[in-house]
Symmetry: C2
């Protein structure tokens, strides 16, 4: 159990780091740990929104974040329960660390800040409180069982982070699609980040008929231009009847990447008996999926999208490098976001 | 789409029956429908509790149920959103119905009352408003795509219903366990209804090491006496560290049948990389499962327990008939319930 960081939990003793009220963030590596010099925190969007609403965007929000990290030994927003991730450089890797990192590696953590021991040493003086990106001097600890990706040197950080943020989806899509012989695959939300990567992954894994469902004509044009799907259909993913009608013949595998509630029944209706649905959207309701499939007498296997699949970061970055259509969609999305 | 009963939806047109405000409950069978003479409604526990709290247990609650069914054409509690199931006898089966039912069959519906067209003709005069079981004269409609089980004549109704209520769990357990060669299997909540059936199903499907986790010494003794597991361990399923420690070596397959929130992380910790977790508990949180596995860097496949697997009802009833240990646990549970 030590590889999960249990010995870093100081209150209450005996729970996992994510459940803990307080962690010991002392920057000295135990044999299987890694110490990271932090460069930047990326706060979870929900956490940042809550903090701004409560504290505004000047000294107060800065003091609030510093205070949370001082009290808890981690950036675990007590209201939203969420965290984010961080960028930094490896300072020291213990001799028994299985993560394959060495001093000097620039990395991004892919496990939540809610379970990452963190110490801030500069009082966040470089942060003006207006951005989710928080320039930060300090240290963090990675456990034996943790996930971090070395940042590639052939693309901008922000693009790499954007990919790493959703890298579980294409890796799991690859695994599920490869289990079948030339399956038909539907991606709900095929124009988004996880959706476009999942389309590219499904194609590589041997999907025969590949359908992207998107909400608008504008997104449909972008996915068509990117050449990521055989068919692009427009529907509101929350309308099960519309989804089923637009998709037509039921597919073998459905990947749900639409981050709004209420997409479960459409996914079930679009999927053939014996098929598989993978839900990556955090807006998925367990009960709506379970009761929906039962109510529709649908013999479909429904998988909770686990954000961790071994090799997921390298796989997703490789898709971005080698699939110009995916890269175009990501860059267009970044332009939109920065222009907003 | 017609087999899902779309043409029975009168308001708003174009949604699925479960989402509908109002269904047409006219007791005339379309070619793929079945008309049922209703004998008894079994209200969902949450629905019944809410109705009693709002209306008490006399004429008022009776009038409330009659009114809901008259307005909506189904027993769909507008506050809880839940329904229940019903018992009845097949009056008429359309020539194209795929359900294999014939007039005179006594059946239980295994899809929710929230999507079942229902008409009440006796104003529920035989119900005193104090029980979830509601004696009822009236009619219901089964669609082409629906699920109903013929009630067996070799066991009491209440015992059969108790099994049918959870029959998806053993059937899906069977399927998941059979995919592996002599896997180790853990059932969280192995002393309950779905848990004990899942243990029996896992044994039949070839589980080698079979572990039941239960919360109390009393339940542990009952599961041991029933002979359903190789090992019975006692722990609070909501305490991930305790679960992992008591179970010891990680298992290949974990089945979660504990109907309380917070069992996701224990299931993840107890399961080996490459393993599978099936969540049957409706208290499962999608986000806790997805983020928990990611935070623990666990390469586990997590499946949402679909209540429908073809043949599930017959499979579960057969387990009860042929596994004396399962039957003893069910009967002991019934005695407890009726004595409470």
């Amino acid at each position: 159990m030590s590889s999960y960081g249990l010995y870093r939990v100081t209150e209450p003793v005996g729970v996992l780091p994510q459940q803990a009220e307080r962690l010991d963030a002392d920057p000295v590596a135990r044999p299987d740990e890694v110490v990271v010099d932090v460069e930047c925190l990326n706060l979870d969007a929900a956490s940042f929104r809550q903090l701004r609403e409560q504290y505004g965007d000047g000294d107060q929000v800065r003091a609030a974040v510093v205070d949370i990290v001082r009290r808890r030994g981690k950036m675990h927003n007590p209201v939203t329960g969420s965290g984010g991730m961080l960028l930094g450089t490896v300072r020291e890797a213990g001799p028994d660390s299985p993560l394959g990192l060495k001093p000097g590696d620039r990395i991004a953590t892919l496990v939540s800040l809610t379970l990452t021991p963190l110490r801030i040493t500069d009082d966040l003086v470089k942060w003006d409180g207006t951005t989710e990106q928080v320039p930060c001097a300090g240290t963090a600890i990675l456990f034996g069982r943790s996930i971090a990706a070395v940042l590639p040197d052939d693309m901008p950080d922000h693009l790499a982070l954007s990919v790493l943020d959703v890298c579980g989806a294409p890796a799991l899509t690859d695994r599920v699609v490869r289990r079948r012989e030339q399956p038909s695959v539907l991606v709900l939300g095929g124009g988004g980040k996880s959706g476009s990567l999942s389309l590219a992954a499904a194609r590589r894994a041997g999907a025969k008929r590949l359908v992207a469902l998107v909400p608008t004509g504008h997104e449909a044009a972008a996915v068509r231009d990117a050449g990521l799907a055989d068919e692009v259909v427009i529907a509101d993913a929350r309308d099960p009847v519309a989804v089923a009608e637009r998709v037509g013949d039921q597919v073998d595998v459905t990947i749900v990447c639409v981050d709004v509630p209420g997409c479960e029944h459409g996914a079930v209706l679009a999927t053939a008996d014996g098929g598989t649905i993978v839900f990556f959207s955090m807006a998925t309701s367990f009960a709506a999926a379970a009761l929906g499939a039962e109510g529709l007498a649908a013999d479909v296997e429904m998988i909770i999208g686990n954000g961790y699949v071994p090799g997921h970061a390298a796989f997703a970055l490789d898709l971005l490098r080698t699939e110009p259509g995916v890269r175009r969609l990501f860059e267009a999305r970044e332009r939109q976001t920065s222009g907003a």
